[in-house]
């Protein structure tokens, strides 16, 4: 399956992916309305320092520990992608406790959120990838090593 991969050599640390992600998942048609003057809740996060930066989002693990650990049955695998049913999530943070990549975080309403590859929103393809100005984030099929 296609996943989001990052190449840290090309990442500019511009954080545009975070804004594009938050906007794509806001359900709103105007970026200004969605983001301006508000705390944003992206599902991808740029980390690093002045030397190196890179974006981190859900790895859609082959054998995801978040799914196995979820106490509410909210996390599941659908066609290879790790999805969250936020209607079932109670915001217990167990997924945050176990994800080795730090890829889940709390959303505006207290439930957890994570990258779902923009499959569930109107973007249709990962907004972080589409908007990355330097091609540092790609959406493609790679084989396990």
């Amino acid at each position: 399956m296609k996943r989001v991969y990052v190449n840290e050599e090309w990442c500019l640390g511009c954080h545009l992916c975070e804004y594009n992600c938050a906007f794509a998942n806001s359900g709103l048609s105007s970026m200004v309305k969605a983001l301006k003057g508000k705390p944003i809740y992206p599902r991808i996060h740029v980390e690093g320092d002045e030397r190196i930066s890179f974006a981190v989002s859900c790895r859609h693990c082959t054998d995801p520990i978040c799914v196995k650990s979820c106490i509410s049955g909210a996390l599941s695998k659908r066609d290879g992608a790790v999805c969250i049913d936020r209607n079932k999530c109670v915001g217990c943070f167990t997924c945050v406790l176990v994800c080795p990549y730090g890829a889940l975080a709390q959303s505006e309403n207290g439930t957890m959120q994570k990258c779902e590859l923009c499959l569930e929103n109107s973007c249709g393809e990962p907004a972080c990838v589409k908007g990355c100005p330097n091609g540092a984030i790609v959406y493609e099929e790679r084989q396990p090593v």
């Binding site: 840290e8 109670v90 217990c92 406790l97 730090g102």
Partner: protein, 415 residues
């Protein structure tokens, strides 16, 4: 066609079903379910009382789970005895089911202490199952004074769930602090003060010497009047099926890394099983949901002829009360030789990382849970700290603490 029996219908059983089916699509799987309902999320019963979820959403798997996985579920039935020689299970209705392999996923039972006059308490509950939660919900009203015995994870989640639905909640515990199984006195004090701010009263370092109807007489000489009593003093692993069959047991049913008990063909998983806590190397019953699922799945794979090892069991808890979250993982060897401690704290939050022999062995995070799984993975995977930049990692749980090569694998490959 092979026949498998799973005793129990909780999370470990669900894991076992999924484990079996990942290897063998055709075998017959029978699930013996004492409770009259499909697998549900037991840790959510306090969230149910709080109104954050409902019975429908508490279902652990979709309604067609058993059907899709070709399982026969015997609801309302209990396993009385396992015959390890003839490989069969005797049910409480007298039926004998024979099989090729059994997984005991029988969970645990609330421990009911012997206290004088306990029988004189009319409104008395445990807090473990959905039935417990529904019965408790029925028993309380806006005017109820509730006494909870036990300031552990179960007792305090029950307190949070009932808060706002009753007149008062008092929690007592023999221990001198809350959450004594996972927090030291310092961290416990922080949690306690937060709980008190939210209206929960405590009587710690004290225990009930006797009950007289709606009055609890404490050892300290105090007396407390209550309408509803919740007993949350602890649980005991359900080990008797394996113990009576001659299998090795301790606090739990002894299992190896493939979830085999000492009896051939008999596996155990979840809250009834006792495996290794790799953060300290000791045998423990790790009664937490993630371990139940992973052990169940491992047992299922191996029962069906596959090969899986579960050798990453550690205690870990993420527990929040009224918006303040505490996360703990691994073993914190406070005060012992060779243990390193990194600590950050301010008024309402704590971060403590414990290291030993060049490994992260445990942590406590209160009010700062961001990306904690990066720390947990270091404990589970036993990653030597000299392979990462621990100075960065101490301050922030971040992948930038790892080498570029390791990051390339994590972020650029299929994991």
């Amino acid at each position: 066609m092979k026949q498998y029996i799973i005793i129990g219908n909780g999370i470990a059983a669900a894991g076992c079903i999924e484990g079996i089916r990942s290897v063998d699509k055709d075998c017959a799987v029978t699930v013996i379910s004492a409770e009259n309902r499909p697998v549900y999320c037991r840790p959510l019963i306090s969230y149910y009382l709080e109104g954050k979820t409902d019975l429908e959403r508490m279902k652990y798997r979709p309604d067609d789970f058993y059907e899709k996985n070709g399982c026969t579920v015997l609801y309302g039935k209990k396993a009385e005895k396992i015959d390890p020689v003839n490989m069969s299970v005797l049910l409480d209705d007298g039926d004998v089911l024979s099989c090729d392999s059994v997984c005991v996923a029988a969970g645990s039972s609330p421990f009911i202490p012997e206290i004088n006059g306990l029988d004189s308490v009319r409104s008395r509950f445990s807090f473990m199952t959905e039935d417990d939660a529904l019965a408790l919900e029925k028993a309380v009203s806006k005017d109820s004074d509730v006494l909870i015995i036990g300031a552990g994870l179960i007792g305090l989640k029950c307190a949070e769930g009932l808060s706002g639905r009753v007149a008062s909640i008092t929690v007592c515990d023999l221990a001198d602090r809350v959450l004594s199984s996972i927090l030291d006195s310092d961290c416990a004090a922080l949690m306690q003060s937060h709980l008190e701010k939210n209206g929960i009263s405590f009587l710690l370092g004290d225990s009930v010497s006797g009950f007289d109807g709606g009055t609890a007489l404490m050892k300290s000489g105090k007396s407390i009047n209550f309408d509803v009593l919740v007993l949350a003093v602890g649980v005991r692993a359900n080990i008797s099926l394996v113990k009576d069959a001659g299998g090795e047991t301790n606090r739990g049913i002894i299992v190896d890394g493939s979830m085999k008990t000492s009896l051939p063909g008999i596996y155990a998983a979840g809250d009834c099983a006792e495996g290794i806590d790799i953060s300290c190397g000791q045998r423990k019953v790790l009664a937490i949901l993630p371990n139940a699922y992973m052990q169940g799945k491992c047992a299922g794979v191996n029962m069906a002829g596959g090969s899986e090892v579960f050798d990453k069991g550690i205690p870990m808890n993420s527990i929040g009360f009224f918006g303040l979250h505490a996360m703990t993982a691994g073993s914190c060897f406070t005060g012992k030789d060779g243990v390193g401690l990194y600590e950050e704290r301010d008024g309402g939050s704590v971060k403590r990382l414990y290291t030993k022999d060049g490994l992260l062995t445990g942590f406590v995070l209160i009010g700062r849970s961001e990306r904690a799984g990066i720390y947990t993975s270091l404990i589970r995977e036993k990653i030597p700290l000299d392979l990462i930049d621990f100075e960065i990692l101490k301050k922030t749980a971040a992948l930038s603490a790892f080498s570029p090569e390791s990051r390339r694998k994590k972020l650029g490959g299929v994991v």
